[in-house]
Assembly symmetry: C2
Homo-oligomer: 175 residues x 2
Amino acid sequence: MTFAFDKERHRQGKGSEVEIFEAYLRQKGLKLTVPRRQLLELIFDDHSHFTADQLFDRCRERDVRISKATLYRTLAILTDCKLLSAHDFGGEAKYYEHVFGHEHHDHLVCLACRKIVEFQSPDIEKLQDQAAEELGFAPIHHSLAIFGVCAACAETAEGRKVIEEGQAGPTSVSD
Amino acid sequence: MTFAFDKERHRQGKGSEVEIFEAYLRQKGLKLTVPRRQLLELIFDDHSHFTADQLFDRCRERDVRISKATLYRTLAILTDCKLLSAHDFGGEAKYYEHVFGHEHHDHLVCLACRKIVEFQSPDIEKLQDQAAEELGFAPIHHSLAIFGVCAACAETAEGRKVIEEGQAGPTSVSD
DNA sequence: CTCGATAATGAGAGTGATTCTCATTTAGGG
DNA sequence: CCCTAAATGAGAATCACTCTCATTATCGAG
Ligand SMILES: [Mn+2]
Ligand SMILES: [Mn+2]
Ligand SMILES: [Zn+2]
Ligand SMILES: [Zn+2]
């Protein structure tokens, strides 16, 4: 039952991403160009958490020749029309992920292998709204990321090292 | 009563920050230099959430002449020895804050005036650990920031605008 | 289908926070 | 006081991202 529903929604989803994009472009007087089509295809064809650079590499792999300027511009549009969202996990680059067809969630980030795992906690969401209200804030959005070491990495030397440093870790700078 | 206690702890705190710093430097074979002394003084003399640039301006105000290189290097050391912590609120620059003498907390950030308010929620902390455990993660640290509009800004046109855009807001890029 | 106004694109310059390089000073133990 | 390792400052370098602008492409009107 749940399975059938998800499958159907996913099917609709695939179609709707393009529809939403086109509707948004029309509404804003923007144009549906070849690069934008190609990027939409690449992005919604697969992966869910990616950086601009990873997407750029993916373009090259598939011989889709697009400038970084256009890539960034398209990511901005897709974020504006709520097909993507951007996350700042404190690293160098922002991570983007699909929004359409996905419910809100937060993230666990493995400090050893950079794996990103999603989780949902309605209780946490509730407590956040409560905290905001108590302090007179009108909450608009939030960012919650838990950094740690995933089960797989906890078995490795690298993972153990990260955990150790976790208790009393250095930031370190050269020179 | 509460007042007297805080005052006393603050007095101890002031002393201990220097002690911790000196102990850390000695342990690492680093030197206690004039610039480092001056920065420690400036940082722990007052404000609690600041960017590297704000600290740099403060240096100039007080005729403390220090290069940005040294400033950043010192911030890294202070973060290493757990006197400061760094936060990435998604803006341009990182924010630093005092750790010694402060309990762990998370932040509310006003998108209109950039004010930062602290809050604590043991319940949220508990739920976070629970979520991590369920997914096999060993949590090391986390970052929770709630972005919204503070009570004061909610009265202003700017604040209202931010709240409106919150429901269906643009990312916008020029060109 | 043809045009023309308007938007988009690519290449490369520009940004801004942070880091690095390196020649020149210090700190501090012996 | 001396010596050596560490620190400092000035400016170059990074790096993700944005902007500039000359050259195309889109698409709706005619
Ligand atoms: Mn996600
Ligand atoms: Mn704080
Ligand atoms: Zn991992
Ligand atoms: Zn405010």
